[in-house]
């Protein structure tokens, strides 16, 4: 059974998360402080972590690199409206975030995506997510078996999204991957490329179903 570390200073939230995780078939390991979380991390055997950023003894953001370093995917649980903080958490390596109050089913869905990603081999030649397949060695992309003709930037963008496999990628992360570090602020590039990509992959580009945006944060690829 997958063991998921839950870090939150509210006992009621810990109980609630425990119930939601049990419903999804996971075992919850609860920690009310950052130091308790680090102790649990040292104990090992964790498949993922759900982390509240407002902890009494330490900024939750500091835990993200440590958990990631130990190969534990992190879902940030945030009560804060601050988009900047969510982006910071994602850029530090969090797999995803979820805002309180959250929907239990949504949390479980995000957790599944995060777990699948951490289990995937790092350097695969053929990547797949939902209807997409990408052969990185042959530089070929297809949707539902239909080959896509993509210019280099659009190919790189789709590859980044497919590699993330449903995880959200921040605007800055996508810009850095596709255009390089010098262009992390040029969101306009991203908008143009996403629009062009949607024309080729979406059934109705005005009503995108596959490439979805989260306001102020980034894009994620849906399965269908």
């Amino acid at each position: 059974m997958n063991r998921v570390l839950v870090v939150d200073d509210e006992p009621a939230i810990l109980r609630l998360l425990g119930a939601v995780l049990a419903r999804g078939g996971y075992e919850a390991a609860a920690a009310a402080t950052a130091s308790a979380a680090l102790a649990a991390l040292r104990g090992g055997g964790l498949s993922a972590a759900i982390l509240d950023l407002g902890l009494p003894d330490r900024d939750g953001l500091e835990l993200i690199p440590m958990l990631r370093g130990a190969g534990v995917p992190v879902i940030v649980l945030s009560a804060r409206e601050d988009v900047g903080e969510k982006v910071a958490a994602l850029d530090l390596g969090a797999s995803d975030y979820i805002t309180k109050p959250f929907d239990g089913e949504e949390l479980l869905a995000r957790l599944r995506v995060a777990l699948r990603q951490s289990g995937a081999a790092v350097a695969q030649e053929v990547l797949a997510h939902g209807p997409f397949r990408i052969d990185t060695a042959r530089h070929e992309a297809s949707i539902e078996g239909r080959a896509l003709t993509l210019p280099p930037k659009e190919f790189a963008l789709l590859q980044a999204l497919v590699e993330a496999g449903g995880r959200i990628l921040t605007h800055a992360a996508l810009l850095e991957k596709v255009w390089g570090r010098a262009h992390v602020g040029d969101v306009e590039y991203l908008r143009v490329a996403i629009r062009a990509l949607r024309l080729k992959v979406e059934e109705d580009p005005a009503h995108p179903r596959l490439i979805r945006n989260e306001p102020g944060i980034g894009y994620r690829l849906m399965e269908a």
Binding site: G54, A79, F102, E188, R195, R198, A206, R212, N213, G216
Partner: protein, 465 residues
């Protein structure tokens, strides 16, 4: 007084001594050597005390020489032209020596004064460079007060004649020393020195009154004081900058505190709400009553979000981050965040080739959610989003087939807690449209209401492409 006594007394004593010695030695030395000896006290008097003591010693020496050494003895009668020459030489020596000595002393005093001023200016500059402008200013004030008795700082213009005021205006405008003692409007009673370097236009002046003794203020002094004035100006500038920086820091700090307060308020509300909705979610699968409680809890959550948003508008802490946005994304994200009641449909007809707009993604998201919620609350069967390019700007609208908004209500409806009389089945906080207007205006958008072709209201946002 003592100085004066010694400067006159010592040469006179010298003359007495020389008279006594030469009278005694006259037989051995002869008259010429004795006469030379009289030069000594004259030189001494003139060099130490200046013209007065030198002249007195010369006259006393000439008198004593004539009275005691020249025949007829013990008489002031001048016997021949050679004796008259001796007296004249003594007087001339006194004049020339005292003049030379006075000039030398003046030079020395001037050099000492210059060195003192330079040292003082360097000290004030060091204080400024060290970042202690208040100390530097105090030091400069004390220095000026030490020379002129007092330095008064105020903004008053009274007490100045019209010529003085003209001189002050000139100094202020041109950054030159003006007025008494200078080359410009020298007839003025005051000397005006700008506190800013030439060419920058002064905002303040130092005014020095004409010296009480009626003399003209020397140029050297004006130059020194002009430098002091510049240092005073630099000190004032530095202090003003420091104050400005402190004010900005205080403002930023209070801004930060307000944000922290709102963030913690949101946190304090959301944590219990998360527990309530989470547990109700599990229960709702088995009990319809729990389902009702769940939707009530969700409504409470919305109301709480609205209150916090309204508070943010009220206290002006919104700082929109404009970025390039695709309205397709904005509509898609908003659709994902609203619950469409049974029997109603929600859709959009935003063209896929519409130009990108510049807006804050999160604020626009909230604006759209509130407009869609409002429309869903009034629609008979459908709510539609649309957008079009109009005169270089992008218009984005949300419309419904409900009863619409009467023209007379189209402004009032954006006020907080405004409701249209009768037939309102919206159950929101009454803040939704106030938040729409507050957020839209913060992003520089205009929001207005028209009649929709669908039969209800069309809320339009106009924004830059």
């Amino acid at each position: 007084m003592w100085r004066m006594l010694t400067s006159y007394g010592v040469p006179l004593l010298g003359i007495a001594l020389v008279t006594w010695i030469s009278s005694a030695m006259l037989a051995q030395w002869g008259l010429a050597s004795a006469a030379l000896l009289f030069l000594l006290p004259v030189l001494l008097g003139a060099a130490r005390g200046g013209l007065g003591p030198g002249l007195l010693a010369a006259l006393a020496g000439a008198g004593a020489y004539n009275f005691f050494l020249l025949p007829p003895y013990f008489s002031f009668h001048v016997h021949g032209p050679d004796h008259a020459v001796s007296v004249l030489v003594l007087v001339l020596v006194a004049l020339v020596t005292s003049r030379l000595a006075t000039r030398l002393r003046e030079r020395e005093e001037e050099a000492n004064a210059r060195a003192a001023v330079s040292e003082e200016l360097a000290h004030i500059s060091r204080l400024l460079a060290k970042g202690s402008p208040v100390e530097a200013l105090e030091r400069a004030r004390a220095y000026v007060a030490g020379i002129y008795g007092a330095l008064r700082i105020d903004g008053a213009q009274d007490g100045f004649s019209s010529l003085d005021q003209a001189a002050a205006a000139w100094a202020m405008h041109n950054g030159d020393a003006t007025g008494h003692g200078t080359g410009v409007m020298a007839a003025a009673e005051w000397t005006f020195l700008p506190l800013s370097p030439k060419g920058r236009g002064a905002h303040a002046l130092m005014a020095l009154a004409r010296p009480a003794d009626g003399h003209t203020r020397p140029m050297v002094q004006i130059e020194h004081m002009a430098q002091v004035a510049l240092l005073l100006g630099q000190g004032c500038d530095r202090i003003a900058l420091d104050e400005e920086r402190r004010a900005r820091e205080t403002l930023a700090e209070s801004d930060r505190l307000r944000r922290t307060f709102l963030a913690s308020l949101a946190h304090d509300f959301r944590t219990p709400l998360t527990v309530i909705t989470g547990q109700l979610e599990a229960l709702a699968q088995r009990s319809p009553e729990a389902g009702e409680a769940l939707s009530a809890a969700r409504r409470l959550e919305r109301t709480m979000s609205d209150l916090i948003a309204a508070a943010r508008i009220e206290e002006g802490s919104l700082s929109p981050q404009a970025e390039s946005l695709d309205l397709i994304d904005a509509a898609d994200a908003a659709f994902g965040a609203v619950a469409v009641p049974a029997g109603l449909s929600l859709g959009h007809a935003i063209p896929a080739d519409l130009p990108f707009v510049r807006a804050d993604a999160v604020l626009l998201h909230h604006v759209l959610i509130n407009l869609i919620d409002n429309a869903l609350g009034h629609a008979a069967s459908r709510v539609m989003l649309g957008a079009a390019l109009q005169g270089g700007r992008v218009a984005l609208w949300v419309e419904d087939d409900g009863p619409g908004v009467p023209p007379a209500e189209r402004t009032r409806i954006f006020e907080r807690f405004a409701r249209i009389e009768g037939g309102d089945r919206a159950k929101g906080s009454g803040l939704g449209l106030a938040i729409v207007r507050g957020f839209a205006e913060a992003m520089g958008m205009q929001v207005s209401i028209e009649d929709s072709p669908l039969g209800g209201a069309r809320f339009i946002l106009r924004m830059g492409a």
